[in-house]
Symmetry: C2
Subunit: 179 residues, 2 copies
């Protein structure tokens, strides 16, 4: 199964993704974390941030995630993935796909600005930055939506976990006992 976390930069994808991985592994599940930025840097290095390159990055990420997913590994992908069509394309090629919209208002994400990227984008140093001068297309029918500006990490993670378990046909207790 692929659990795909999409949302603006600094919306909380990585935080939730890692918390989810920890919960899943704690339950004895095979789980793997794929971070869009890390994969770009360490797996393939030929892609930039044009629309075509972002789409290609998402296509490749989806293909790698599917290789894992179809082998019983719950694969948690964290990547802005701003374009709806790219995400839907990954969904259509996946055995099992759970879309998680990690949602916080732009103002909140920009205030967090973990790596100072919004600051640079506003200063014109990062052209094509999602949310500033490149669009983010929110999911229309995500399986889970996490409002990270008003929910705790624990609350959001539990919401995702519940959907993962439902998709796997587990109840929470059964899954915990399997672990």
């Amino acid at each position: 199964m692929i659990v795909w976390l999409t949302g603006l930069p600094c919306s909380g994808k990585t935080t939730l993704g890692l918390a989810l991985i920890e919960r899943l592994r704690g339950m004895g599940r095979k789980a793997e974390f794929l971070d869009g930025d890390v994969v770009r840097r360490e797996l393939w290095r030929d892609l930039g941030f044009t629309k075509a390159d972002r789409e290609e990055n998402i296509r490749r990420l989806g293909a790698v995630a599917e290789l894992l997913g179809r082998n019983g590994v719950i694969t948690v992908v964290c990547v802005v993935s701003p374009y709806r069509a790219s995400r839907d394309n990954v969904r259509s090629r996946s055995t099992r796909f759970l879309e998680v919209y990690v949602n916080a208002p732009l103002a909140v994400c920009e205030k967090r600005d973990v790596k100072g990227m919004y600051h640079k984008a506003r200063a014109g140093e990062l052209p094509g930055f999602t949310g500033i001068d490149d669009p983010y297309e929110p999911p229309l029918a995500a399986e889970v939506e996490c409002r990270t500006d008003i929910e705790s990490i624990e609350e959001s993670t539990s919401k995702i976990l519940e959907q993962v378990q439902a998709a796997l046909g587990d109840t929470g207790t059964a899954a915990a006992m399997k672990g």
Copy 2:
């Protein structure tokens, strides 16, 4: 675990790889097949056949295989992978790596010429073709060597399977019963 089949074009890598996958799945094992040419065509498309591009293809293949391998999927990779250093590099980054030298004399491989590639290479239409005008560096200490010019597919596959099971700590029977 990664099972890495290296050898000249038409040495029999894909045939053995697919036979191995069938045996492993028949034993109830999670197994995934990664073909170097298919991955080049379908996963990433930016790489050619220069030395640098071949090395990068092998590096990426190794990274994807390791993602699977460390999650308990026996990942069978079939790719010419002509350079010793590239293969050793993948080995050094892998949790578990089994190198299989799929060995047949060049003359035998060239006679098989499944896709007419040797013919084209001899005609000068495929510059940099391994075995013709690009070197193949045989493994110095492969875990398994299969002489596909004198062994049957069954024999070669069994030799590989035996090493896989040894590495997994199985005896043949135990593994079959687990299936």
